[in-house]
């Protein structure tokens, strides 16, 4: 049976391609039977296949993101295991209050992002636009607070490598003498910096979503992009949820 099928394919079934399609009108060449809406790319059969493929792809991308960060988490783990005193000592320099506020800001932005996905799926254009604007505002807020933190650290000489030159020492610390405290700040700036770059990336893609949302491109049959960016945003949030206790709340 299978060989019969292949035989047909081998010669290109002469009855199969009635319509004259010369490479020029590609889009119509294989649109299939009837409806192939403009938001479904030519190589997908249905909107559902396109949505599922996109979802599969974004999850895989998130796996690569986790692995990308994993190198830094490994470095953290290793140095913390070998030199716990550096981490216990140096974390006192971090501003837990600002870190906590930023955690709340990001958690709230995850809520608004999730709401945006729901609004897109239900075709509520106005809600979608507002939720995206709120999410963007949170992202900018997060970076603003991070900027304040960074500038304090840099001002006090709390940086990586040989430039490490603290303006003051930690007072309430009673443990072994920590050497190479700059390693902590190398890891701190590495992890939060890479996270910050991801927040910036999030701002770009959410801005792109906002532009498309204002044009009214999203509706219940076509809201994949919002969903996928949403997943990315939740991951950025999740990574911060790990960074906050690992860097700020050490005891």
């Amino acid at each position: 049976m299978s060989s019969t099928a292949s035989a047909h394919a081998a010669h290109g079934d002469p009855h199969g391609h009635g319509g004259g399609h010369s490479g020029a009108d590609h889009e119509s060449a294989h649109g299939g039977h009837g409806s192939h809406p403009s938001y479904v790319a030519h190589h997908f059969d249905t909107a559902k296949q396109q949505f599922d493929t996109g979802k599969f792809g974004i999850w895989m991308f998130l796996v690569t993101e986790v692995l990308f960060f994993s190198g830094l988490f490994c470095a953290y783990l290793l140095y913390r295991a070998h030199h716990p005193e550096i981490f216990i000592y140096a974390h006192h320099y971090l501003d837990t209050k600002l870190g906590a506020i930023n955690t709340i800001v990001l958690l709230f932005s995850s809520l608004t992002m999730a709401w945006a996905v729901r609004a897109a799926a239900l075709g509520q254009k106005k809600v979608l636009v507002w939720m995206l604007i709120l999410t963007l505002a949170c992202a900018f807020g997060f970076l603003g607070i991070k900027y304040i933190e960074y500038s304090h650290k840099i001002h006090d000489g709390l940086v990586w490598g040989r430039a490490f030159n603290p303006a003051h020492l930690v007072e309430d610390y009673h443990g072994p003498d920590p050497k190479n405290v700059h390693i902590f700040f190398g890891i701190y700036f590495g992890m939060t910096g890479l996270h910050g770059i991801h927040v910036l990336g999030g701002i770009v893609v959410i801005g792109w979503l906002l532009k498309r949302a204002l044009r009214g491109e999203f509706h219940s049959q076509n809201y994949g992009a919002v969903d996928f960016v949403g997943l990315y945003w939740h991951l950025v949030d999740l990574i911060w949820i790990y960074l906050f206790p690992l860097l700020y709340l050490i005891h």
Partner: protein, 561 residues
């Protein structure tokens, strides 16, 4: 359907004089290629790109071999020599071997074999091509700035202290990594989501299983290389000190990070090659591939086990003996799925009707060379022998037998197998066989003496050796072999390009293969198939018979009815 019907309707597409519509001529102009989303054109662009990279890496290799032909200064000083072998390794690994088969032939063939219209994310596909180009530009920038002399492995602390263009090279490798990740992601999504009805997992041609396993590694391992290189860049530019022992950092951590990617990367290079082999052995033995499920699953097994063996590169780095034993044991276990493949290919040929075409010569070369490459790996996976062989020419010979004898041979085999499909032209079969034999002999002459050099104590990466050491004649023959290899490769390039101009029109199915890409015209139309194909058994050769009219193979029933 009758013959008369064929003649009136579909036959003109097979052997007509007037040019037919296909993916090559459906649109013209620079931008129709530069901005194409067609996986076939992207595959062809990749093929041109990786071939150029291979040429570049080959020139460096010949420079290295020429320097080593005799003791003392031959054509370059020691610093230039260090740059040459570094650039040879880095260009070959990052620009050629890793993207070679998947990005060129994989891109071209994967959707067609699957019966799909394109890969899942065509724009991402184009983007990964341009990332490859950008990475390549960075490597060229290295050439025109202060060069690179760290070895392709970028080991710290040397790479953080040398005055050469480490940042350009690592930026290049970083960007190439993303190209590789996106290709892998695209392939996995395509194989999962774009299979047409009837194409079950175990009805996929084995090349697709090879690509699937490769893509898993690309997606799971490459991000770790990305962050490692980023840390190296930050270390160099900002002096973070994470890998610098003088600042409390750990240089061996870099080695762990690096090999966590780079060992699996070895399987990125070899798994697609093995996939090609499964196609070649079945097609040219005219016999159903033996042990389909075992070959398919052994690809996945190799991909997964490959993540657990990186420590065998570090037996002499001071890691604990226990860890060394664990890594050694897991390394040996990879021999099992590799051997499963080799024995299954042998069993496929057994009592088959072996047809010695150019691709089949490459397949037989692969079996022989990969066999030697794999078995010599056992000496390096054993800690007690590795202590002696570590960093000698034995290692160089071993991985060249796998990377060249495996991946390059399979790349050439794939090129000769799919060339008629990609460009619609047949090449000169006699020159093809001469080229294949030249590559085989030249390769062995180059690298077999290096096993002997290694066991006699010649360290790798050395600029010089003394006359009394007795390495001279072995080095001489090795260099001669490299010239023969280079000349054979040039011959191949020449007759392949000539075939584009003067070659005979290729039939739909020149080899009598049973997978779907050989059911569409050569070259395929823009959307791969004029009619969505019905999926059959990929290794059913029974009723494929030669059709003198087209010069290719057709299904018997179609011919007789």
């Amino acid at each position: 359907m009758s013959d008369s019907q064929l003649a009136t309707t579909s036959a003109p597409r097979v052997h007509a004089a007037e040019p037919e519509q296909n993916y090559l001529n459906c649109s013209r102009g620079f931008w129709s290629w530069a901005l194409t989303l067609d996986h076939k054109r992207i595959g062809v662009m990749y093929l041109a790109g990786v071939t150029f990279a291979f040429f570049l890496g080959g020139v460096f290799a010949l420079a290295v071999r020429t320097e080593l032909i005799a003791p003392g200064y031959t054509i370059m000083d020691a610093d230039t020599y260090n740059q040459m072998f570094t650039l040879h390794g880095a260009v070959m690994v990052f620009l050629f071997l890793i993207p070679s088969i998947p990005a060129s032939f994989g891109n071209f063939v994967l959707p067609v074999m699957l019966g799909a219209k394109d890969v899942a994310f065509p724009k991402l596909n184009l983007m990964s091509f341009y990332l490859w180009v950008t990475g390549a530009i960075f490597f060229v920038a290295v050439l025109f700035t202060s060069g690179l002399d760290t070895g392709w492995t970028f080991y710290t602390p040397y790479s953080t202290t040398t005055g050469t263009s480490v940042v350009f090279a690592t930026m290049g490798a970083f960007i190439l990594g993303f190209s590789s990740i996106f290709t892998g992601l695209n392939f996995i999504a395509t194989i999962h989501m774009m299979r047409p009805p009837g194409m079950g997992w175990f009805r996929m041609p084995l090349f697709l299983w090879g690509l699937y396993a490769t893509s898993l590694i690309q997606v799971l391992a490459t991000p770790v290389l990305g962050i490692t290189l980023l840390l190296l860049i930050v270390e160099r530019l900002a002096g973070v000190g994470i890998f610098d022992p003088a600042m409390g950092g750990d240089p061996v951590l870099f080695q762990h990070f690096f090999w966590f990617y780079s060992h699996p990367a070895v399987y990125i290079m070899i798994l697609p090659a093995m996939g090609v082999m499964s196609e070649l052995f079945a097609t040219f033995s005219r016999k159903h591939v033996f042990g389909y499920r075992f070959i398919a699953m052994s690809s996945v097994a190799i991909a997964l086990l490959g993540f657990l063996v990186w420590g065998h590169h570090m037996f002499v780095s001071g890691q604990s003996r226990l860890i060394g034993m664990v890594f050694s044991a897991i390394t040996f276990s990879i021999a099992i799925p590799s051997a499963i493949k080799v024995f299954n290919w042998l069993a496929t040929m057994y009592k088959g009707v072996i047809w010695l075409t150019t691709p089949m010569w490459y397949a037989l070369s692969f079996l022989f060379l990969f066999g030697i490459g794999g078995l010599t790996g056992l000496f390096l996976g054993t800690m007690s022998t590795d202590i002696h062989l570590h960093d000698t020419y034995f290692v160089v010979a071993h991985f060249h037998y796998v990377m060249v004898g495996g991946t390059l041979i399979a790349f050439l085999g794939a090129m000769h197998y799919w060339w008629p499909k990609m460009f619609g032209k047949m090449y000169n079969e006699k020159l093809g066989a001469i080229g294949a034999w030249g590559v085989f002999l030249g390769f062995n002459l180059t690298f077999f003496p290096q096993f002997v050099l290694g066991t006699r104590g010649m360290p790798r990466r050395y600029y010089n050796y003394e006359e009394w050491e007795g390495f001279e004649s072995l080095h001489f023959w090795s260099t001669m072999g490299s010239y023969l290899l280079g000349a054979s490769l040039m011959l191949i390039l020449v007759y392949l390009i000539q075939s584009l101009v003067k070659g005979k029109q290729a039939p739909v199915n020149p080899w009598g293969a049973a997978s779907l890409e050989f059911t569409t015209s050569s070259p395929p139309p823009h959307f791969n198939f004029d009619v969505t194909p019905t999926v059959g058994e990929p290794y059913d050769f029974d009723d494929l018979v030669f059709d003198a009219k087209t010069g290719g193979y057709v299904r018997q029933e179609a011919r007789n009815s």
